[in-house]
């Protein structure tokens, strides 16, 4: 399977603290990778590097087309979606207004209609309340809708199930399953391994900034046994 992203000896230092240490790995197109690890293991740093929001201190990151010009995350911004711990939304605007704003910023590529994106995450597009008055779970879903609106090929999700009740989390997993079905790649971090199991092709574990294991998920193993 072709690779969508590759890390070569990537390290990231914050002062003297090494958040990532010599990570080398490859992510295949259309797979879902679940990144596990304790707090401070480097999961969020890894996602931010793949999103192009942080530069590695050492090593190289390639996305989409392998080594060569124009394939750094920074040069492929429109094709990568990133959802962080924070909502990345304006509190003063409604969900529809937030999404319409971001859809305008991605106007040069094919985008989902903001109302459709909101319906897909189970929110009512007619809701006029500003996002600042939403519950954490609703914010999280609006944030996912914001990421999905640009139809990214590589989706990076940092703790997407935190602050969510079980029903909403399952709904999100089913939505992400559809997303992966369209040959898009997902890389998500979570502390709730059991929640991500139906979705995961691979589990990657980080410990103190090092990638210590890459294990096939039950879904992929079942497929291989068939």
């Amino acid at each position: 399977m072709p690779s969508i992203a590759r890390l070569e000896n990537v390290s990231r230092l914050f002062g003297t603290f090494a958040a990532l240490r010599q990570i080398s790995t490859e992510f295949e197109t259309g797979r879902c990778y679940v990144l596990l690890g304790e707090n401070g293991a480097g999961k969020s740093t890894l996602l931010r590097i793949l999103a192009g929001l942080l530069q590695p201190s050492y090593g190289k990151v390639f996305v989409f087309s392998g080594p060569g010009a124009g394939d750094t995350p920074q040069s492929q911004r429109g094709r990568i979606g990133y959802m962080s711990h924070a909502a990345m939304l304006y509190d003063e605007l409604s969900a529809s207004e937030n999404l319409a704003y971001f859809a305008h910023l991605y106007r040069e590529q094919r985008c989902l209609d903001p109302a459709d994106a909101l319906r897909s995450v189970g929110l009512d597009p007619a809701l006029e309340r500003p996002v600042g008055q939403y519950s954490q779970g609703m914010r999280q879903r609006t944030s996912l809708a914001r990421v999905l609106i640009s139809q990214p090929e590589l989706l990076l999700l940092d703790e997407p199930f935190s602050n969510m009740d079980m029903g909403s989390a399952r709904q999100m997993i089913s939505l992400l399953g559809q997303f992966r079905g369209e040959r898009r790649t997902i890389l998500l971090t979570t502390h709730q391994r059991e929640l991500a199991e139906p979705l995961a092709d691979y589990f990657l574990t980080l410990e103190a900034g090092r990638l210590v294991s890459t294990v096939a998920g039950p879904r992929l193993m079942a497929k291989e046994q068939q």
Binding site: A51, Y90, L105
Partner: protein, 228 residues
């Protein structure tokens, strides 16, 4: 250095968002208005100037009132983008950074101009002002001076957003940079109000300052935006 890309459609998207948010919260205008009002009233009470003295000092007082009031709002210019990491979401989009910057500058310029418009009748009343020169030229001097302040203020506010003492840092960087524009603004306003000299040279200097600093800020903003 990469030439900044400026597509008006993106610019309008950013500007419309900033105007909509301010319309709902009125944070920037309220904080600036009260501060500027206090400065104008306190100076008037403290000095109790005669009409001729008023003409000499009014330009300076208006400039200082605008400067201090704007800093309170400019310090918050990127606060909404920092809260909940909206700036990261903006950095991920393919929209040009220059349009984000210019949208923010125009929005701030409009907010400061609204405050100046609301302040003008009070200013005339408190200082008993009547221009002896060509009064209409003030309609050129004030926007040029305000633009000089806002373009630098928005840029340096963006530069200092990742620092711990950003509220202290902004005036420390902004005020020295703004001095040439402030001098030109004060001299031009005084020349217009007193009618004793020709403000042309000062107006040209302000216009030149605006062109130079707008260009520099537009060229450097992308680097600032993506700096870690």
């Amino acid at each position: 250095m990469k030439r900044p890309s400026l597509k008006s459609t993106y610019l309008w998207t950013h500007l419309a968002k900033d105007l909509r948010i301010e319309w709902r919260s009125k944070d920037a205008i309220n904080s600036m208005l009260f501060f500027a009002l206090l400065v104008v009233v306190l100076f008037s009470l403290a000095f109790d100037p005669t009409i001729s003295v008023s003409r000499q000092i009014a330009g300076g007082i208006l400039c200082v009132a605008t400067l201090f009031a704007s800093v309170t709002a400019l310090n918050q210019a990127w606060a909404r983008e920092l809260r909940h990491q909206v700036l990261d979401a903006q950095r991920m989009t393919p929209a040009p950074a220059a349009s984000l910057f210019l949208g923010k500058v125009i929005a701030n310029f409009l907010f400061v101009s609204v405050v100046q418009l609301l302040l003008a009748p009070l200013f005339i009343m408190f200082y008993n002002l009547r221009a002896l020169g060509q009064g209409w030229l003030l309609a050129l001097v004030l926007p040029l001076g305000t633009w000089a302040l806002v373009v630098n203020g928005t840029f340096f506010a963006a530069l200092s957003i990742r620092t711990r003492n950003r509220e202290l840092l902004l005036p420390l960087i902004l005020f020295p940079i703004f001095i040439p524009a402030m001098l030109a603004m004060v001299q031009a306003s005084t020349a217009i109000l007193t009618g004793e000299s020709d403000p042309d040279l000062w107006i040209k200097m302000l216009a030149g300052y605006d062109v130079i600093f707008t260009t520099i800020c537009l060229l450097l903003f992308e680097t600032i935006l993506h700096a870690e």
